[in-house]
Amino acid sequence: MAKLVVNQSKVKNIDELISICPFGALENNNGELQINGACKMCKLCVKKGPKGAIEYVEEEQASIDKTLWKGIAVYVDHIDGVIHPVTYELIGKARELAEKINHPVYAVMMGHDISNQCLELLHYNVDKVFVYDYEALERFKMEPYTAVFEDFVNKVKPTVILVGATTIGRQLAPRLAARLRTGLTADCTILDIKENTDLVQIRPAFGGNIMAQIITPNHRPQMATVRYKVMNAPERNPYANGEIIQCNIAPEKLESRVDVLDIIPKEKEQFIEAADVLIVAGRGIKKSEDLGMLQELADLLGGQLACTRPIAEAGWMEAKRQVGLSGRTVRPKLIITCGVSGAVQFTAGMNNSEQIIAINKDANAPIFKTAHYGLIGDLYEIIPDLINQIKAGKEVVIQ
């Protein structure tokens, strides 16, 4: 149990204290300082306020035995047996964390007819693959998948569970976390682990302008989701290592109150996440026709066109081409932003790119803090010139 206690006598200037709280959780109630329900327990008022005015009081609570929980488990995300690549990225991360605390790495896969997939997982340096192979698990359904995952946790007791923040992971992870009454941190961008096996989970918070470091100090397992392309993918080993463990579960646990009536395939889309080169159009683009110029550059570099939110909102490009917090997270080898100011909500979706080049005519644009190479200039002059040079260069090579 922990709480904040206000010592009214030490509160000299109420308004000053109120202004410290970024969440509007401090109130002046007839001259008395009060904390309301908006409090996020960031404790800034304790640290930045006058000494002793607000105190953080913690009562001893029974702590759990963390040594009973061992192993870092990764959920194998798949649709119809096609493993989502975020799975491998998480296995790579899991291995890194596991080495620090000397724990094993597990993969958990549920589905139907998936023995080949499990064999493939053994090429990625996992110690054990736990498999639940049942017809009822062919497609993702929240209830049976949660039941299976719960079964795995009860049997194996992993200290950490990592899940890809995919369509499936974003449904399965919270349902499981609530069932296990444990913590879940969404969309972590950095993961680390302490000696005492506490997982250090870092994610953008409050809209992305701030990073929050989150821990789950007294609950196990600790759960986190991570988006695709945030962690590094490990190399595939030529040799298979580790063992596959077939698991059983009572059939009545696989029942569901949801029936899949039909599956409608979507057109094969080009996802910007898959592109090695991205050219991003920002509001520096004045009219939709001008996108043609950027498309030409993208084609010359073998890349794709992406955009910021205002461009998507204007309907000039499809929403699925939007990069950022409310768009897609991308990690191409090269990204060139054209007329993009560099709001944190945008950079949160691309700052892991290998090479970031920014063109903006405003020398003070925040994008220059994120870019590796920043060009202060007019995109309407630079891009056409660049296109001409690339074309000319190509001719030279052909001759």
Binding site: F206, G208, N218
Partner: protein
């Protein structure tokens, strides 16, 4: 049909910054608004009610001033409203938030359908919906992009799975998280706003809930804890180029060649 919609008040702007020198959070503008994704959940509820009849209750958990979003829901056509509010709920993470809301829902009665938005713009986890469904032990489908049909004891919806779309039938009672763009949300009506000015908003505090154990709520009921907050990293290896457009284009072309992109 009894429908419940979960809505949340969020900061009007997301321009919260950390002062790099003092480490203090800077707040620019404190106005609040309804989480934009929840407008789609409200609209979905209104459309279903128009077809099937019944009533809609909007519920929010937050400080007293968040009752404003319930008022807004009234002016869109929602019938009843409840505010789950207590100092003891402060500092709640996803688990504690979901638990508190599910306790509040139990108090409000039985619902056939519970609707949530896709995500919030401040919490931004998209996890509260599925966690509520677990606490209520009802089936749940997220990423609902289309309502195909509403039957007597179930409904058929489309779930967007990125690579394909699943048409699924889900039994009542159930919880759905709806995607943005499922329906175009209507604007609040001035007439409805005037008509519902005095409408009661039920306030639910810890004492009203079935589980009154303080340890299960707010910071104490939250397995996760924020250890520290800090400004995002800025890139340290960087070059800024200025010059005429031609010089810049030349320099960029050379760099692209050097990096082997052309």
């Amino acid at each position: 049909m009894k429908i419940l919609v979960c809505i949340k008040q969020v900061p009007g702007t997301n321009k919260v910054e950390v002062d790099p020198v003092t480490g203090v959070l800077k707040r620019n503008g404190v106005e609040s608004k309804m989480n934009p994704y929840d407008l789609y959940a409200i609209e979905t509820a209104l459309r279903i009610k128009e077809k099937m009849g019944g009533s809609i209750t909007a519920v929010t958990m937050g400080p007293p001033q968040s009752a404003a979003v319930i008022r807004e829901a009234f002016s869109m056509g929602v019938d009843y409203g409840a505010l789950i509010s207590d100092r003891k709920f402060g500092g709640a993470d996803v688990l504690a938030t979901s638990y508190t809301i599910s306790q509040g829902i139990k108090l409000l009665g039985e619902f056939d359908l519970i609707l949530c938005g896709k995500q919030t713009t401040d919490g931004d986890t998209a996890q509260v919906g599925p966690e509520i469904s677990e606490y209520l032990n009802i089936p749940c489908v997220s990423n609902v992009s289309t309502i195909v049909e509403v039957q007597k004891d179930s409904m058929t919806v489309e779930m967007d799975m990125t690579t394909d779309v699943e048409v699924v039938k889900i039994k009542f009672p159930c919880l759905l998280s709806v995607d943005k763009d499922i329906f175009m949300p209507r604007l609040p009506s001035y007439i409805k706003k005037q008509a519902t000015k005095e409408r009661e908003i039920k306030v639910i505090t810890l004492n009203d809930l079935e589980d009154k154990d303080e340890k299960h709520y707010g910071l104490n009921g939250s397995p996760t804890q924020v250890e520290r907050i800090f400004p995002p990293d800025t890139n340290t290896h960087q070059e800024i180029w200025s010059g005429t457009s031609m010089e810049l284009a030349n320099q960029l072309y050379k760099k692209l060649r050097e990096l082997k992109f052309v």
